[in-house]
Symmetry: C2
Subunit: 225 residues, 2 copies
């Protein structure tokens, strides 16, 4: 029997690297992306390319418009902060935090996993670079996994457990990129920007662009964007 895994795929470099690592563990990857009203919806084009490049068994895009609630620079008419210092990026909950987003994403992944009869979910959360996001912390993931096993047929009828895998949770951005480069991952198809142009050109100044550029710089790479 093949091992199936559902993987949350954003089009950014973290989830692409997570995909490469899941493949190495010989999972058939079912990739799940979201059109959630994000201002950087061009990331979905990148997600499609990554899914194809890395051979997703299937790639679904769920439509869930989180603009219904707002409350974030990514889903409401609030400016994305630009050119922040390291100190500013690493302290507090940024306005780019989308309320309960990873909880919602993982809940959808859980639904698909249950239908697929899959026992593994991969998510490319990272606790270092985005230390201000509560839903990127290991204690959140652990609590979600516990809840997921009580929420579904896994623990009840199947006598199985579902596991949430977070292979890059404790890596720096440079380490994540290093893992991908070792595996010949073509990062050029990924996009990390929170506020790209409509053609998908990254702004170069949001937290996500800054962290990405620094990560590549540590490998002596300057991306041509």
């Amino acid at each position: 029997m093949t091992k199936k895994a559902v993987l949350l795929l954003s089009g950014g470099l973290d989830s692409a690297t997570t995909f490469a690592l899941a493949k190495e563990q010989e999972f058939d990857v079912y990739a799940l992306s979201f059109r959630y009203g994000q201002r950087h919806a061009v990331e979905l084009n990148a997600a499609k390319k990554v899914a194809e490049m890395l051979g997703a068994k299937e790639h679904k895009i769920a439509d869930i418009d989180l603009r219904l609630f707002g409350g974030s620079a990514l889903t409401a008419d609030i400016d994305v902060p630009k050119s922040r210092s390291d100190d500013e990026i690493s302290h507090g909950i940024p306005i780019t935090y989308v309320p309960a987003r990873n909880t919602i994403f993982l809940s959808f992944a859980l639904a698909w996993a249950e239908v697929l009869d899959a026992y593994d979910i991969f998510i490319g959360v990272n606790a270092l670079d985005y230390s201000g996001y509560p839903d990127c912390r290991p204690e959140f993931i652990e609590a979600f996994e516990k809840m997921a096993n009580l929420a579904t047929a896994y623990g009840v009828a199947k006598n199985q457990r579902i596991r949430i895998h977070t292979p890059i949770i404790n890596m720096t951005k440079a380490q994540i990129i290093g893992e991908g480069l070792k595996r010949n991952l073509h990062y050029s198809v990924t996009i990390s920007c929170y506020d790209p142009s409509s053609e998908g050109k990254p702004c170069g100044q949001c937290d996500s662009c800054i962290l990405r550029a620094k990560g590549f710089a540590e490998h002596g790479i300057v991306e041509d964007v």
Copy 2:
């Protein structure tokens, strides 16, 4: 300061009763319903009527098409079981179970609560009548609450907790109806059927119709449907 609560509102009698109980605790109720691809989407008309009747501060309907995953008689082309015995209804996970549905619903409620700065979520789950649904059990709700406090700004920046309220979780259907009748709740606007006609006429034979009719019968009431 007013107390705000987000309440999951389906249009059925359980969530309507839960609404009445939340109001009694003097919450301003923000009602949330879902167009999730359910075959009984007419329940949304009932949800609108309940929201209006009980004075919701706001009523939002989120579009999340769970037919993307299927796997349930409510969201896929699978027949809804009819005329089952008590014993059949109360054993095993029924095919009307929608994978991870309550997890998804509560995740959206959590997102809205966080944006509203609300500390309370109400859900009309019931562990007795739907004993086969893993996501109606108290241990699931408890695990979700723990996870929710780690997932969001509540525990991190606000030093507050969010609470999931399940006032009818341990009541029989007759007890639930009794609570509503005491409060003059007009159940005629609610609909419980899993498989109604396009005009909203209940089938009378699905598990949900059977449980509802029995609950009213214990109060000597036969509904005119």
